[in-house]
């Protein structure tokens, strides 16, 4: 099968899933259901796209297929922010706080954090600094988590439940204004950075080959990392952390497609993530009847796949 046909089939699957998702158990309440469900679908499409594009770009830059950009500590930072709000201002404040304010607050904390982290990378001239950057990010991440878990211990159980809700990505109450805002940020940054994406295939050969072929490697790496950070921040601020989705879909895409070219892999990974999110949400809603959150299912599936790949592959 050619890659084109595979992409077509994936697209059909996604459309079918969307159709099922929109119409299942409707009981004729169209006026109520359609706007609600289309908002969810929109959020899933945006998040799915942001996560898969950021992961594929990130894996190309780091020259391996087993890392995800959420490793750099953004998830923990997001959670620390939510915990800190509850701790200092109370659970009511977090619940009552306008979604716009929350989105901005999260983005306003996460993006500068990436800026500081990348500053470390900008200081160095060699591209190898990227693993180092990751390690620093993770250390910061675990620093944030120790503070959050300390704060969480001090919360009373009801307040803790509010924080606990925030620990897992959820598409159930996405605000439409925030949606528009997040989409705008994602689209604008995609437009701004799309001219750098054409270098992606050559950069997959590694730094030396890319430099030899005339790619301004270090500059493009830094620019694309900013792009990755923007996408991850937007999707986390919108729905919450989904750590392993990116890893899952990018690797399924690499395996499924015979071409390595980003023009094929990027759409493939995006389509797979749409299918995973919508399908996963269907399962979470209809099979587990909302008792288990989607991100827990995806994290678990992604984690198992990660282990499978590392243990079964001849060479990784």
């Amino acid at each position: 099968m050619t890659d084109k046909r595979k992409l077509l089939i994936l697209a059909i699957v996604v459309i079918a899933l969307i159709a099922v998702f929109m119409t299942i158990h409707s009981y004729g309440n169209w006026d109520y259901i359609l706007p609600r469900r289309s908002k969810k679908i929109a959020a899933m499409l945006l998040t799915g796209m942001a996560i898969s594009v950021s992961t594929v770009v990130f894996q190309t830059l780091t020259n391996n297929k087993i890392l995800t950009p959420s490793l750099i500590g953004l998830d923990s930072l997001y959670l620390l922010l939510q915990t800190a709000i509850v701790f200092m201002l109370g659970a009511d404040t977090l619940t009552a706080m306008s979604k716009n304010v929350q989105f901005f607050l999260s983005a306003a904390v996460m993006i500068p954090f990436c800026g500081v982290l990348y500053k470390l990378l900008f200081l160095r001239k060699d591209g190898r600094a990227i693993y180092f950057l990751l390690l620093v990010g993770i250390i910061c991440g675990s620093f944030f988590s120790s503070i959050s878990s300390f704060l969480q211990m001090l919360l009373d159980p009801n307040e803790f439940l509010v924080v606990q809700d925030k620990m897992f990505a959820s598409f159930n109450n996405v605000n439409s204004e925030v949606m528009v805002l997040a989409t705008a940020i994602a689209v604008l940054s995609a437009l701004y950075f799309c001219k750098d994406l054409k270098y992606l295939d050559v950069m997959a050969l590694g730094r030396e080959h890319a430099v030899n072929l005339g790619v301004p490697y270090d500059r493009i790496t830094k620019r694309l990392l900013v792009f990755v950070a923007l996408l991850v921040s937007v999707s986390t601020a919108l729905v919450g952390p989904i750590t392993f989705l990116g890893f899952l879909v990018s690797n399924v895409a690499y395996r499924l497609m015979s071409s390595f070219r980003s023009a094929v892999v990027l759409p493939a990974a995006s389509l797979i993530s749409f299918a995973a999110l919508i399908g996963g949400q269907l399962i979470a809603e209809r099979v587990f009847t909302f008792s288990t959150s989607l991100s827990v299912i995806l994290n678990f599936a992604g984690g198992l796949y990660f282990l499978y790949l590392l243990l079964k592959e001849e060479r990784t």
């Binding site: 087993i66 120790s146 300390f150 211990m153 994290n299 990660f306």
Partner: protein
């Protein structure tokens, strides 16, 4: 730094530790303690001191063993899935056998920690020739996968907050009768000392070890069993002490080199000193309240680790 400097520091800190706390006990009263004061010493202060020293020594030593066996300076029980697996085990024990005795919990936690570490070692063997930082990152991802399984279960059984609280290291709940399990780690640490040379050789790789006539598999298993058991015991009595197993061995290897036999004693002592120092700090910083040791160690540890990293890079360029 010499051992003869480390010992007095440890003694001074230990002595200090005994006299920091909400109920006033002055050092000069040591030989004329009132009934109550003696009681506090016996039930709380001395057990706390002992458990701090054992936990500090234990975590640092098993961190060092893990780094030797994997030949990777960025690997430690808390960053490569051992502690995460152990806590998954504790949670399983809580769910399957409600009201399980501590001993049962330890056994189950140990089994999980051992299994998790074995899986991690297998993954690392496949990545042997890759960048050590990448290997460490993979270890962290592995840890967070196990962690997500724990989260999933804790969520399902409504145990999230309690998991969070016993995972965060805390010495304030150490009382007589609740810490004695820690003694299990003492013979294990001694065993580690006996096996030191063999761990160093095993770390060089299977072919190297076999060439020197070493039973590679067996040494590996013994090393990992020590790591898993000590992790499980410390997790259950004290909680998680992040970064300890990472930074102490790295600090020691800066001035002492990498031969396990000569660095083991330093690592043990420095680990105890570090945890004691953190504990005293945590007790006086917001006196009369206490900052849990997990947080102090986490904050100081991540700072020191970042410093080590930046230093290492500076030396490379």
């Amino acid at each position: 730094m010499k051992l003869r400097y480390l010992f007095p520091v440890l003694l001074i800190l230990s002595f200090t530790s005994l006299f920091v706390g909400v109920s006033d006990i002055r050092p000069w009263e040591l030989f004329q303690l009132t009934e109550d004061q003696a009681e506090i010493m016996r039930i709380s202060r001395i057990p706390r001191l002992i458990s701090i020293i054992i936990a500090g020594v234990g975590m640092s030593v098993i961190g060092l063993i893990m780094q030797q066996l994997t030949r990777n300076k960025f690997v430690s029980p808390t960053t490569a899935g051992t502690t995460d697996s152990a806590s998954l085990g504790v949670l399983m024990a809580m769910i399957i056998i409600p009201g399980a005795s501590p001993l049962v919990k330890i056994v189950i936690a140990f089994a999980f920690a051992m299994a998790g570490t074995l899986v991690m070692i297998r993954i690392m063997e496949r990545l042997r020739y890759r960048d050590p930082i990448l290997v460490a990152l993979v270890g962290l991802m592995f840890g967070s996968i196990v962690g997500s399984a724990t989260t999933f279960l804790a969520l399902k059984y409504n145990l999230m907050q309690s998991v969070g609280s016993w995972l965060n290291g805390d010495f304030s709940s150490i009382l007589k009768g609740r810490y004695e399990m820690l003694y299990i780690s003492i013979p294990l640490i001694l065993l580690a000392y006996l096996f030191a040379d063999r761990f160093t050789i095993a770390g060089m790789g299977e072919s190297f070890a076999v060439n020197l006539g070493l039973n590679y598999r067996q040494v590996m298993r013994i090393g990992l069993a020590i790591v898993a058991l000590v992790s499980a015991v410390i997790l259950l009595t004290v909680g998680s002490l992040p970064f300890l197993g990472l930074i102490i061995p790295n600090l020691v290897s800066l001035y002492k080199g990498d031969h396990l036999r000569s660095s083991l004693a330093h690592t043990a002592l420095l680990g105890a000193i570090f945890v004691l120092g953190c504990d005293i700090l945590g007790r006086i910083v917001i006196y009369p309240f206490e900052v849990p040791i997990g947080l102090v160690v986490g904050v100081l540890g991540s700072g020191i680790f970042l410093y080590l990293l930046l230093r290492r890079r500076a030396a490379h360029d």
